[in-house]
Amino acid sequence: MKASVLVFPGSNREADVAQAIELVTGRRPNMVWHGAGDFEKTDLIVIPGGFSYGDYLRCGAMAAQSPVMAEVKKRAAQGVPVLAICNGFQIAAEAGLLPGVLMRNENLKFVCADVHLKVETSQSLFTNRYQAGQVIKVPVAHAEGNYFADAETLKRVEDRGQVAFRYCAPDGAVDGTGNPNGSIRNIAGVFNETKTVLGLMPHPENAVEPMFGGTDGKALFEGLVEALS
């Protein structure tokens, strides 16, 4: 699997995701600068976490207008898979690649903590190594991860099975206890309609080694390798 990781001014988890991809594939991904209008053919595009453009205006709003994102939209439309993590999720939502928006956390504070996620489906490029209903533990680190969509969008997203992950309690109960940011219906990650674009707030790339946060995030990358190689 050949992956490309976008780099914006202010991106700061691009090295983390590149390291995770290299760990799983043995191959360093291609790092793509935000000014690039075009970049080499790739099996997977990753929009990493960080504070692109310093979160000025609105998280992800400026990056969504960058030259590289015009190209990403084009390729996503052709079916190239896109993994958008944290600030990447915010950028992808701003760019219209994914439904919904990410608002300030309900308590208005940055939160960095391990959370539990319930995997909603194993039927996707990204989740094929998980079981539907499985509970995994990965960290979050954000101030604007409070997912919201209007009732109509939400219904469509739920009806079409576009919810990828929900925050949950360690035993899998989807209730208020495991939700770190106030996301509506505990939504932590969503797909686009074709399930070729995944946006999620948690950081699977920081859960790929036993000593450093556990390994529950590794299967996401392994699943991608299996599907895309």
Binding site: N12, R13, Q19, F51, D55, F110, V111, A141, F212, G213
Partner: protein
């Protein structure tokens, strides 16, 4: 005294005021210091020249009250590459890698404007470290606030924590450790001490000493605005009721720009274009250009009209003294300007050649072609005021015998009270606002061990890091307190299995012109120096913050010790969490039941008196080396040093963080139970092991006191005949205080 020959006397600008005694006083220069200035200059200075002297001779930049004492600290060891005097200290950690680190205070600004004050404190210390060629890999911070009931405390906690998080999170550097205390002595002067640790190649370390006459002086980063003018002078004065008016002297940070600056500098550092580099911190362009030229034995011409400016109408005086953030000064090799410019333009940062090096040993400032300042460099350094301030040693208070301290009426209640008291209560509310996981290298997280342990990229090595000080001990007896702060930092690194290597110190004290305050400073230094020497734990960098007083009331003397150690195989590192049953729980080190200045005394008995626990450095070393060797031999599953709150709170912390209970009994001794369980004797650890016989054998052979207390298991903490508490109950007491304090309605 050297009087340099001046070829180009400066012009006085049209709107420049006459220098009056009042203007001199406003610049924080004492009358005799101004006399010194006149002798050096041989004439009345211009405003910008006065500003330069004011900044360079401020306590903050010149260390004039502390210098004679700081010299007493040991600074050398075979692994020290660079000791104090540069932007940060540098130590060799093997494999061609160096750890570069420093701690610095941002106390005064953080009290006036907590968010920006704390944020720019983090920004400043990050720049100190990446200026030297290191990529920062971790941040820590040591915070001291006033008593929780003080009307400002909550606002300050909230702002400082948000500011530290806001800056570090955006920079993408994990904030992995630190400490937070509360005491009424900090009501009017909080302490915000920030520490950064970075990694560089030993053959690519960058220094500030300029070299090469004619080489270009380059300004990069943000534009210069009017913020932070006189910050260094403010940081060198006491607070009073007008301090609120000093808000404009607080700088405003932009971590996004600093992130770009970090990446751009590291990109330029990967080439060979740089001769010297220095960040613009306190006293901005003045101290950076001055220090670079002084360290290189050169002169410098700065064309101030070339400085990128944020506002119109800025004057030379403002440009030289602004403390606008996220700026660097670089001396490039000749002809490398375009190569460097391309890198900074790629990162959308300002880049301007603003001057060049000369052989005159003078700092000449020009403004649209006219000389507006012309100052000889060497005498500003050699003739800088240095004070041997009078000092009175602090007498050792009477030792408090355990028989003078009552045992708790209700043991369970006393433990819950301690676990929930502001100083011991969980600080999770704070560190969950810091990204402590970014970079994917955090092996031991906040609260999971005595020190944070972070992997060094590209190998199996880890760095352990911590920050420590027990101000109430230092207040009671500075020498003992100074010794203890160093010993505890050493112990905390040791408790993870790492070898302690070096120290950065952040000396926070009151007004040094008061002999009793200077006595605290002197005592603390003497204690620290002895501990650093015996533990082979040299000081490689540091910072002094004096005048931490409001309306004449000083803070507790707080020499914060930041420390770094290395563990060659990070897989061997241990934390303090007790995660499995059936392990033997062993107390290492001698217990005498020292209750003087203990948290038990303060929180349960409502007293703050007695002598602090003595520190036997030979025992520290013996016991610590034993523990580290046992960790290296993989015999230890969890390890916790004993400090605030003594044995019982340490046991409770191990249980609740790991979710496993224990059942222990006190050894038979004539020490009263409350002194055994709450005494704060030093040089002690609790270890959990599956092989107690081997561990106890080795201890006996090494002459290290070690006693089996009991075994892990169950869901309660039980001390035979004394304590029996469900872990959930302890956890609730421990975790509830800070969030409920911060979220309470106004």
């Amino acid at each position: 005294m050297t009087i340099a020959v001046e070829k180009n006397p400066p012009v006085k600008l049209a709107d420049e005021p006459e220098i009056t005694p009042q203007i001199v006083a406003e610049h924080g220069l004492a009358p005799d210091e101004y006399e010194r200035l006149l002798k050096i200059m041989g004439r009345t200075p211009t405003m910008v020249e006065l500003g330069i002297f004011s900044a360079m001779w401020s306590e903050h930049c010149s260390y004039k009250s502390s210098k004679v004492w700081l010299k007493k600290l040991p600074t050398k060891a075979p692994w020290v590459i660079q000791g104090p005097g540069e932007n940060a200290g540098v130590i060799d950690i093997g494999d061609g890698q160096a750890a570069i680190f420093k701690m610095e205070s941002h106390n005064h600004p953080s009290y006036i404007e907590p968010y920006q004050g704390a944020a720019t404190g983090v920004g400043g210390i990050l720049r100190d470290v990446f200026t030297m060629g290191a990529r920062p890999i971790a941040n820590l911070n040591a915070l001291r606030f006033g008593e929780p009931s003080h009307p400002r405390t909550r606002h300050l906690v909230s702002g400082v924590v948000a500011g530290i998080g806001g800056y570090g999170n955006c920079m993408g550097i994990p904030t992995v450790g630190g400490e937070t205390n509360f005491h009424a002595a900090y009501n009017g002067n909080i302490l915000v001490n920030a520490m950064t640790v970075g990694i560089a190649s030993t053959d690519r370390i960058f220094y500030a000493a300029a070299a090469g006459v004619g080489n270009p002086l380059v300004y990069v980063g943000s534009k210069t605005g009017r913020d932070g003018i006189h910050g260094a002078t403010m940081a060198s004065a006491e607070f009073n009721e007008d301090s609120e008016e000093k808000r404009p002297t607080v700088q405003v940070g932009d971590p996004f720009v600093e992130k770009l600056l970090l990446e751009a500098c590291l990109e330029l550092m990967a080439t060979d274009a740089i001769v010297a580099i220095q960040d613009m911190g306190a006293a901005g362009l003045t101290s950076s250009s001055f220090e670079m030229a002084a360290k290189g034995g050169l002169g410098v011409v700065v064309e101030l009209d070339k400085v990128p400016m944020r506002e119109q109408g800025m004057k030379p005086y403002e440009l030289m003294l602004s403390e606008s953030q996220e700026r660097m000064l670089i001396v490039l090799k000749p002809g490398r300007e375009e190569q460097a410019r391309r890198i900074f333009e790629k990162w959308e940062l300002d880049f301007a050649v603003i001057g060049r090096l000369t052989d005159t040993e003078r700092m000449v400032l020009t403004w649209h072609g006219e000389v507006v300042g012309n100052v000889p460099i060497p005498p500003l350094v050699t003739e800088a005021p240095v004070y041997e301030r009078p000092w009175i040693p602090t007498p050792l208070p009477a030792v408090l015998d355990a028989s003078q301290v009552p045992a708790p009426k209700d043991w369970n209640a006393s433990l819950l009270a301690l676990m929930g008291c502001p100083d011991l209560a969980s600080k999770a509310w704070i560190w969950h606002q810091y990204d402590h996981l970014i970079m994917g290298n955090t092996a031991i997280r906040p609260q999971d061990g005595d020190a944070a342990v972070v992997r060094v990229n590209g190998g199996h090595k880890g760095l352990a890091m911590t920050s420590d000080c027990t101000p109430r001990y230092v207040q009671a007896h500075p020498e003992t307190g100074g010794r203890q702060a160093v010993a505890e930092a050493w112990r905390n690194i040791t408790a993870t299995g790492a070898k302690p290597l070096a120290v950065t110190d952040n000396m926070n004290f009151g007004n040094p012109q008061k002999p009793e305050i200077m006595g605290q400073f002197a005592g603390a230094i003497m204690g620290m120096a002895e501990a650093c020497r015996v533990l082979e734990f040299p000081v490689v960098s540091g910072n002094v913050s004096l005048y931490n007083e409001t309306e004449g009331r000083p803070i507790l003397p707080t020499p914060t010790i930041g420390a770094v150690g290395v563990i060659q195989d990070i897989a061997k590192a241990v934390g303090s969490r007790l995660t499995q049953g059936g392990l033997a729980v062993i107390l290492v080190g001698e217990t005498r039941g020292w209750l003087g200045q203990s948290l038990y005394l303060r929180e349960v008995c409502g007293r703050e008196d007695g002598a602090p626990p003595p520190v036997d450095l030979a025992a520290e070393r013996r016991n610590g080396d034993f523990v580290r060797n046992q960790i290296d031999a993989r015999r230890i599953a969890a390890c916790h040093d004993l400090s605030d709150g003594g044995l019982l709170t340490a046991l409770a912390e191990m249980c609740i963080s790991g979710g496993t209970g224990m059942e222990v009994a006190l050894p038979s001794t004539d020490i009263p139970s409350h002194a055994f369980l709450y005494g704060e004797d030093q040089a002690r650890y609790v270890i959990a092991t599956g092989t107690p016989d081997e561990v106890l054998d080795v201890a006996r052979g090494a002459g290290v006191p070690a006693v089996l207390l009991g075994y892990s298991g169950g869901e309660s903490l039980v001390v035979k005949d004394l304590v029996s508490l469900a872990l959930g109950e302890i956890k609730t007491a421990h975790e509830a205080w800070l969030p409920s304090y911060m979220n309470a309605p106004e």
